[in-house]
């Protein structure tokens, strides 16, 4: 942790409050949209985009990823690659259907 002064922290706190308000707003938005009768694919895309924005806000500001050391980024990029591989794994099942 870098040596931060009380003034810097006060600035951080203002950011935390803005992020908090944005997270609550996006939660209400995603719930509202779920009541519109969107068809499945657009509904999934919209919900995942909103969740990703919320997730990025938490990771960037609450978890301070916006200003982290290179080694942490390297570990997370590696995890992200394997995570994406896992998520796309079910696609293999689709190409392997028995008719």
């Amino acid at each position: 942790m870098e040596v931060a002064h009380a003034e810097d922290i006060k600035k951080h706190v203002r950011v935390y409050v803005s992020v908090f308000v944005a997270l609550l707003g996006l939660t209400i938005l995603t719930v509202t949209i779920s009541y519109f009768d969107l068809s499945v694919v657009p509904a999934i895309i919209v919900a995942l985009i909103i969740a990703s924005v919320k997730g990025s806000l938490v990771a960037s500001y609450f978890m301070h990823l916006i200003s982290e050391k290179k080694l942490i980024y390297a570990a997370l990029i590696l995890a992200a690659v394997f995570f994406l591989a896992l998520i796309f794994l079910p696609l293999l099942a689709m190409s392997d259907r028995i008719h």
Binding site: A6, A59, L86
Partner: protein
């Protein structure tokens, strides 16, 4: 024996050891939950029918707000220590623990409602993956609350002897807690809204 690099960053990694440790742990957690999200996709694509809005959305929306609020109180507890205000730290950390408790209480009501309605994991693949994912997430909330309660109570003695190290401990505990919040941010739309 003194544990190295609890306050000063290790020159080769650029971070304190605990921070690298927690991030590696969280990377492994990404894989744990990733496997379940992957299973969810597989089950959903293969399902003949998938319930839409089958769960209690208003209750889960409140729970989402509860967890988001607990994330800001967690980061505020760390910020309070950075501003050398131990009294505020205690208030914010106490609030974080209470909000975790509120989250679990709401989850308890949801679960008992499902049990009474005969909606057990055996009912459908939807309920199977719902209970698996929210159950594992709930266990993570309990784990975080145990750690946070220790740092609120007996563990906070370190503030007197080694305040910088204690502040770092709270930052690391916070990283875990925010991760648990982050997982819920994805679980909520995936299980409740879609």
């Amino acid at each position: 024996m003194e544990i190295p690099y609890t306050v000063k960053a290790r020159p080769d990694t650029g971070v304190i050891n605990a921070k690298l440790g927690i991030w590696l742990f969280l990377a492994s957690e990404v894989m744990l939950f990733g496997a379940l999200f992957s299973s969810y996709i597989l089950l959903r694509v293969g399902a003949v029918e998938w319930p839409h809005h089958a769960l209690d959305i208003p209750l889960a929306t409140v729970n989402t707000a509860v967890l988001i609020t607990s994330s800001i109180t967690m980061v505020m507890s760390w910020a309070s220590l950075m501003m050398k205000d131990f009294r505020k730290y205690r208030i914010y950390m106490g609030s974080t623990i209470l909000l975790g408790f509120v989250f679990l209480t709401i989850k308890y009501f949801e679960y008992t409602h499902h049990f009474h309605a005969g909606e057990l994991p055996s009912k459908s693949t939807f309920f199977a993956i719902y209970f698996t994912m929210t159950g594992l997430h709930g266990l993570h909330v309990i784990g975080g609350m145990i750690v946070n309660t220790y740092f609120w109570g007996p563990g906070s003695k370190m503030w007197k002897t080694d305040p910088e190290r204690f502040t770092n401990r709270i930052e690391v505990a916070g990283l875990y807690w925010h991760f648990v919040d982050l997982v819920w941010i994805f679980l909520f739309p995936v299980l409740y809204l879609l």
